[in-house]
Symmetry: C2
Subunit: 114 residues, 2 copies
């Protein structure tokens, strides 16, 4: 039986969805989000935590900010970023559990007894 709860999304809506997935499709941005998972951080702190160059961190944060995934706030001379929408972690958890499922499935092809 085919599921059909939601109406089809328009091309523009699909483009919007695709755009947000694209924001999450870059490991450097996921690194930054993961760092922010523990709490707010300044740009410099994220540069140190991630090993990425400062210019790169700034640009990736700008992209995350444009997508309303992070919020920023000036703190003296620095700028502190924090997660604006915890939904990103729900997305990541779904993807992670899928990867575990796929991995278990692949494993089963070699070790059916387990």
């Amino acid at each position: 039986m085919a599921a059909k709860k939601h109406p089809a999304l328009s091309a523009a809506q699909l483009a919007g969805v695709a755009r947000l997935f694209a924001v999450l499709s870059e490991p450097s941005r996921l690194v930054l989000l993961q760092a922010l998972h523990a709490g707010p951080l300044t740009v410099n702190e994220m540069v140190e935590a991630s090993g990425l160059k400062q210019a790169n961190v700034s640009k990736q944060l700008a992209i995350l900010h444009d997508s309303h995934l992070v919020r920023r706030e000036r703190d003296g001379n620095s700028i502190r970023y924090e997660i604006a929408d915890p939904m990103v972690f729900s997305l990541c958890n779904l993807v992670c559990s899928k990867m575990v499922r796929d991995a278990q499935c692949a494993m089963a092809m070699f070790h059916p007894e387990i």
Copy 2:
């Protein structure tokens, strides 16, 4: 208070997560997934339903198949695809609800009374 339920993901794990988001970051692939939401379809049926060229549909389906998001099965002369992991729709629904939230937030900046 900072949330911290999950251990940090390794670079390889983040790359895997990013890869799956990348698969979902292309409108043409979302169109195909949305078409398959109503039930299994052959390549030709998806060409007609999507308006995309046949070569393009085949390539995008191959990418979806590599990610184990769709399954394929030969049916006579054609090949029938179907959703292999309904989790993709959970992902899309999360993103959609976020977009609604953001849109309502943007709206409120112009119509605070609503």
